[in-house]
């Protein structure tokens, strides 16, 4: 299965991104890693270009929310993205907040899976289960 991944916005925290690439590979995904400092359009363009099944976005420096608000409008400009699985993870707010408030918010922005300060492997395990359920 194909995954497009990267870190959204002006965020240059690259460490998690490198690890994500490695882990997705190890789990048998075909990975297209756009790296840090990637804007939303670039993500969707890459999804279309590679015909990816999954878009997995990271955000560490707190910028995610500002960008996420624009997802729905932007996504609607593309065709055939209805089956795209959208995942986001990392540190999803500036300062601190609980998952109880964060997860519904991001689901509302259009994400299927939301991982705020969740360990990478836990997150990817959940993703794989989600995909299994979905393809039943």
């Amino acid at each position: 299965m194909k995954v497009v991944t990267g870190v959204v916005g002006n965020d240059i925290h690259v460490v998690a991104n490198r690890l994500i690439e490695l882990s997705l590979h190890a789990r048998g995904f075909e990975v297209f890693n756009l790296g840090v400092n990637t804007y939303l359009e670039e993500f969707f363009d890459a999804v279309v270009e590679t015909d990816a099944d999954i878009l997995l976005i990271s955000s560490l420096n707190g910028e995610a929310e500002g960008w996420s608000r624009e997802i729905k409008i932007l996504k609607s400009k593309y065709k055939n993205l209805d089956n795209l699985v959208m995942v986001i993870g990392g540190n999803l707010v500036v300062g601190t907040a609980s998952p109880e408030t964060i997860v519904p918010k991001y689901k509302n922005y259009g994400f299927d899976l939301v991982f705020h300060q969740v360990d990478l492997n836990t997150g990817l395990d959940t993703l794989e289960e989600f995909l299994k359920e979905r393809n039943k």
Partner: protein, 454 residues
């Protein structure tokens, strides 16, 4: 009028600058209190200087933060600049500053120095009469530095490599070298008027498995680029590696080599100091544990013999620290420095020799590049991977070197890419690691190695 002065006029003619009075600023620097110069503090204070991190948008909040720091017995005040100013976007900074002033909420992640201007900022700096260190991350810092020095900020952090490779993906490296050349020259010129302006390089880089040889080579190169322009007070720096012994070895080698290379270009009159950053990598989310880590960093800094320590807070893993958490670190660090006595003398000859050889090999390769000036040689060396910074997000970085921790948590090079360390050194590095493992286990080890402090 010199070319530099013409460039300065253009830079300072920026619409966001309110009438830069060159003569008045020169006069101010000439007569400024010596206490404001960190170079003077290094000379006269017989202790490791303690400097926190921090910056707020409004004058009022920044003033309050400084007051807090001074009460916690700080030695050096930080001034961290907001990210719009770092990108030279003074218009947005201005708007966000006004919003921050009108509401009680901070709309910037630092102090927009250019918008506040030097006349205002100088009031704060001279009021506290402590040396201030400018922390930014700006590739084109020309206007920022002019404003800083005019304000009484006599230590400028950064450099063309250390503020670019960890902080940027696309900014052109060659431009960064030229903009920083301007900065060095301005610092050098002002240094003739009073105590020298201090320049400091940012040794932590990506704070993630960077091998000592790379860090030191970059520190030395930025030092040379600065000294070439006439800077007389320079600080090399690095951050806690994760191995006490490796830190101590790094400290010894960087001090020795900084002196050596400064002498090579006849700059023996330059004062070189060593700055140590408390752990810069991934922090534990448990705040009590974070404090243990911070304390241990302070102990190691003492063993390294650093002249200044830059602190973290118990809130590092969660978000921008409160001023209370920040001040607490300062007070605790000062206390620890006061009670830590009887430091042993530690020398690890073998490790020092290997590290020295590695750094010298990289330096030689840089010097041997066919370009005509040092900055171009360095530029080429980064591009061709002679210098390779693990986990740099920048497109120009080679990204071929792989490092891992050995059993004692020393960072070791297990794939050298184009970094020209000798076979002997490379074999030494690899001999410390268990390389019989399969790739998956090694990858798992790397992930583990990044999180060793968590």
């Amino acid at each position: 009028m010199s070319l530099l002065q013409e460039e300065r006029k253009i830079i300072l003619g920026n619409e966001y600058v309110d009438n830069f009075d060159f003569a008045e600023v020169e006069d101010f620097v000439k007569n400024a209190s010596k206490d404001l110069f960190i170079s003077y503090n290094f000379k006269t204070k017989n202790k490791m200087l303690v400097q926190p991190r921090g910056g707020f948008p409004t004058y009022k909040k920044q003033f309050a933060l400084n007051k807090f720091f001074v009460e916690a017995n700080v030695d050096v005040l930080p001034l961290t600049i907001d990210s719009n100013t770092r990108l030279n976007d003074y218009a947005t900074a201005k708007k966000m500053l006004r919003l921050s002033e009108e509401n009680e909420i901070d709309m910037l992640n630092g102090y927009p120095l250019v918008n506040h201007g030097y006349r205002t900022t100088r009031k704060m700096i001279t009021h506290f009469n402590k040396p201030v260190s400018l922390r930014h991350g700006t590739p084109d810092a020309r206007l920022l530095i002019e404003t800083a020095i005019a304000s009484g900020i006599f230590e400028i952090e950064g450099g063309p490599i250390t503020y670019l490779l960890p902080y940027s993906k696309n900014f052109p490296l060659d431009k960064a070298f030229l903009y920083w050349k301007y900065v060095e020259k301005v610092c050098a010129n002002y240094s003739k008027l009073n105590e020298p302006i201090n320049r400091e390089s940012f040794g932590p880089l990506t704070a993630t498995l960077v091998p000592p040889a790379i860090t030191i080579a970059i520190q030395l190169l930025e030092m040379l680029l600065s000294l070439e322009e006439g800077v007389k007070s320079f600080s090399v720096s690095f951050s806690q590696t994760g191995s006490m012994n490796q830190d101590i070895v790094m400290g010894a080698v960087i001090k020795k080599l900084a002196k050596h290379y400064a002498n090579e270009i006849n700059c023996d009159d330059t004062t070189i100091n060593l700055v140590y950053h408390q752990w810069m990598g991934a922090f534990p989310t448990n705040k009590d544990f974070a404090e243990q880590l911070i304390n241990m960093s302070t102990v190691i800094a003492s063993m390294v013999g650093a002249d200044k320590i830059i602190t973290k807070t118990r809130e590092e893993a969660s978000g921008i620290p409160t001023k209370e958490a920040n001040a607490k670190t300062v007070a605790s660090t000062q206390y620890t420095l006061g009670i830590l006595n009887g430091l042993p003398n530690i020398v690890d000859e073998e490790e020092e020799e290997i590290l020295t050889l590695e750094v010298k090999a990289i330096m030689e390769a840089v010097f041997n590049d066919e370009a005509d000036t040092l900055w171009r040689k360095v530029f080429n060396s980064i591009k061709n991977g002679t210098i390779d910074v693990p986990f740099s997000p920048h497109i120009i970085n080679h990204n071929e070197m792989i490092t891992i921790r050995d059993a004692n948590k020393n960072i070791r090079i297990i794939k050298r890419g184009n970094v020209p360390i000798s076979d002997r050194c490379f074999e030494y590095e690899k001999s410390k690691c268990d390389l019989t493992k399969d790739t998956t286990s090694i990858v798992n080890d790397i992930i583990h190695d990044i999180g060793i402090m968590q």
